[in-house]
């Protein structure tokens, strides 16, 4: 394969995917607009809250342009989203954008760590299960992942809190860091990164200790899908001719497993990872609420709980964009792992 040709294919795929992602973002934002401005019979009441006075409703109507023609409303909505003018949170009086900026890094920290655990454990268990097909180990792992994805998120979180924070108190039951510590200056907004920058080791350790339990809970509920995919992809290639060929060439068993069996399974796992990232991201709504983790999920929960509709809509937009970005990254990774994709996108060799 000529590397420069491949690079060209890859770049054109990158451009294509970027345009696609922007298109999907605009489309989803349009749908969110339709939900928030058209679906409800009386949007002003919704935006003002259920117990608002008539004068408040009128004020809200004027403030969010709810009396204008629908396409003008859409124009304002898009303009404000793009310029980052999300409005003011009626409960706290803070700009919503600033609030999201504060909560988002906390959520991302939790989600990234949890996702890393999920990928490593999920692929590992799937690999073990596939390589020991039809043995007690296989059926045990299958039972574990089937049961784990049937576990409600709140059950896992409650069990985690009860067992590992109450009965065997190894981990704190909530919060992001110990409140007795001197506060860490916010540089990036990510607590663990900030404490490392300041070389504040106690703060870092405390942050880590608070992070582990919610991250493991989030991962434990979601890893099943990836294990199943890895297992079935291993079953598909384990006895295939190209693995036989690899052995016949005289490759040692380790290399066959690593380069021919596992790599193939990793490709399948990558295509799933965007879905899983979305699950972990939305799982934060439950987990952050139970673990008192000051993140976007908890913010979303509180917005819903207090009928704070003007805050809820920007949060939904942020979550949706997060999923779209995850999809984009997974697509690009996928084409790096499997060069046939980029080549095919150019020549149409793969349908």
């Amino acid at each position: 394969m000529n590397p420069s040709v491949y690079l060209k294919d890859f770049l054109s795929l990158l451009v294509k995917r970027t345009i696609g992602a922007i298109g999907v973002s605009l489309g989803t934002i349009t749908i969110i607009f339709l939900i928030s401005h058209v679906l409800s019979p009386n949007p002003a009441r919704l935006w003002a809250g259920p117990r608002a006075r008539a004068s408040t409703i009128l004020a809200v109507q004027a403030r969010y342009h709810l009396n204008d023609p629908i396409f003008l409303q859409f124009y304002y909505f898009l303009r404000d989203l793009i310029t980052g003018n999300f409005g003011i949170d009626p409960l706290s009086g803070q700009p919503i954008l600033a609030e999201i900026r504060f909560y988002l890094p906390n959520t991302l920290e939790l989600v990234f760590v949890s996702f890393a655990i999920l990928v490593v454990v999920g692929i590992g268990l799937g690999y073990m299960s596939g390589m020991r097909f039809s043995t007690p180990v296989d059926s045990m792992i299958r039972t574990i992942y089937l049961a784990s994805w049937s576990t409600p998120m709140y059950l896992a979180a409650i069990l985690g809190i009860l067992v590992f924070a109450t009965y065997i108190p190894i981990f704190p039951s909530g919060g992001m860091y110990s409140l007795s510590l001197s506060p860490v200056r916010s540089v990036t907004g990510f607590f663990l990164v900030d404490s490392l920058i300041e070389l504040n080791i106690p703060a870092f350790l405390s942050g880590l200790q608070h992070l582990i339990l919610p991250a493991v809970v989030l991962a434990a509920v979601n890893f099943g899908l990836i294990s199943r995919a890895v297992r079935s992809s291993i079953l598909n290639v384990r006895w295939s001719t190209y693995v036989k060929t690899a052995r016949a060439k005289g490759l040692n068993e380790d290399e066959v497993k690593r380069k021919h069996i596992l790599r193939n399974a990793l490709i399948d796992a990558t295509s799933l990872s965007a879905v899983l990232f979305g699950w972990v991201l939305t799982g934060t709504v439950v987990v952050e609420e139970l673990f008192a983790w000051p993140g976007l999920g908890q913010f979303a929960f509180q917005a819903i709980y207090s009928n704070d509709y003007p805050v809820l809509i920007p949060i939904v937009v942020v979550f949706t964009l997060g999923v779209i970005i995850a999809n984009f990254v997974a697509d690009v990774l996928y084409s790096i792992l499997d060069p046939r994709i980029a080549m095919g996108a150019q020549t149409g060799a793969i349908s």
């Binding site: 939900i35 679906l39 409600p152 409650i158």
Partner: protein, 316 residues
């Protein structure tokens, strides 16, 4: 071997797997209880699931109250049974309507092709990009509280995978010879679609739907747990867990019991669906056979020691 795989009934394949048999048992028992409760109401529960009795509040599980009582003295066992019609009915309705929508759109896209296909699939892609529970929360908050609105909010985000599944199936079946013959015989489009194609894609939709009821059940209970869409006071498993939060350390069973019941229900559907998926998947079938017959080899046959069947991926 292939002949053997075909001669075996789907049912036998399904129950060669103990997990899926267990799943079926759970599904049958819970659905029966749900139907009985919606027919007979109070008649099958030991206590009135709605009656408050503050003198009997926060009792631990005992012989008179199997699962104990909640903070308002309601019998948790009775409330769990009263919750079954909602916790099974909502997911089943969601999956049913989503799959109907998916079959309709997917068949239109797959069979008509062209512009219809393009439009349907682009819209489907948009809806697939939404994070499920967040979107359900937003739609449920927009529509307001109520079981019907909660169901609608779920259907709003639940249908896209079905369109993909059905469209893929239609494209596969439409390429088969018998459809070409059918066309050559001048069958009407309706005939080809409903007699030729539809029966061939229903099984895969059914399998996916069974698994999906489990997923929907979990998400519905999360909605209840968060207290959105499902009216407060409704006997719903997630709501029962969510209303406990402050007493969690003192009365953990009040949250744990409904949560475990939710899990058992979801396990039932996902074990059953997973078994059905394997049993109907031509690619995996040989492996199930291997599993089924390794312990009890068929008389007169050499015991199979390795999946010697031509491996699926090499044949494609």
């Amino acid at each position: 071997m292939l002949k053997l795989a075909q001669s075996l009934k789907f049912r036998q394949l399904l129950f060669s797997n103990r997990l899926s048999a267990l799943g079926l048992v759970i599904v049958i028992i819970s659905v029966t209880l749900a139907v009985l409760f919606s027919l007979l109401g109070r008649g099958i529960t030991p206590y009135d699931p709605y009656a408050l009795n503050l003198q009997q509040s926060n009792l631990p599980p005992s012989t008179s109250h199997f699962f104990g009582t909640d903070f308002q003295g309601r019998d948790i066992f009775s409330r769990v049974i009263a919750a079954l019609p909602i916790d099974l009915g909502l997911p089943i309705a969601i999956v049913l309507f989503s799959s109907m929508l998916g079959i309709f759109l997917g068949m239109a896209a797959g069979y008509l092709g062209g512009l219809v296909d393009e439009v349907v699939m682009r819209v489907t892609d948009l809806f697939l990009a939404f994070p499920t529970i967040i979107m359900v929360l937003a739609v449920a908050a927009t529509l307001g509280s109520g079981l019907v609105n909660a169901t609608l909010a779920f259907i709003f985000v639940w249908w896209p995978p079905y369109v993909r599944l059905v469209r893929g199936g239609v494209l596969e079946v439409a390429a088969e010879d018998f459809i070409a013959v059918s066309k050559a015989l001048n069958s009407s489009v309706r005939n080809i679609m409903f007699r030729g194609i539809l029966p061939n894609i229903i099984p895969s939709v059914l399998t996916y739907a069974t698994l999906d009821v489990g997923t929907a059940l979990l998400e519905v209970s999360i909605l209840g747990f968060l207290g959105v869409g499902i009216p407060p006071g409704t006997p719903e498993l997630g709501t029962m867990v969510g209303s406990i939060s402050y007493g969690l350390y003192t009365y953990p069973w009040q949250a744990l019991i409904p949560a475990f019941v939710t899990m058992i229900l979801a396990v039932g559907f996902s074990f059953l669906g997973e078994g059905a998926r394997e049993a109907s998947d031509v690619k995996v079938r040989p492996y199930i056979l291997f599993r089924a017959f390794r312990k009890t080899p068929l008389p007169g046959r050499v015991p199979i020691t390795q999946p010697a069947i031509s491996t699926p991926s090499s044949g494609d």
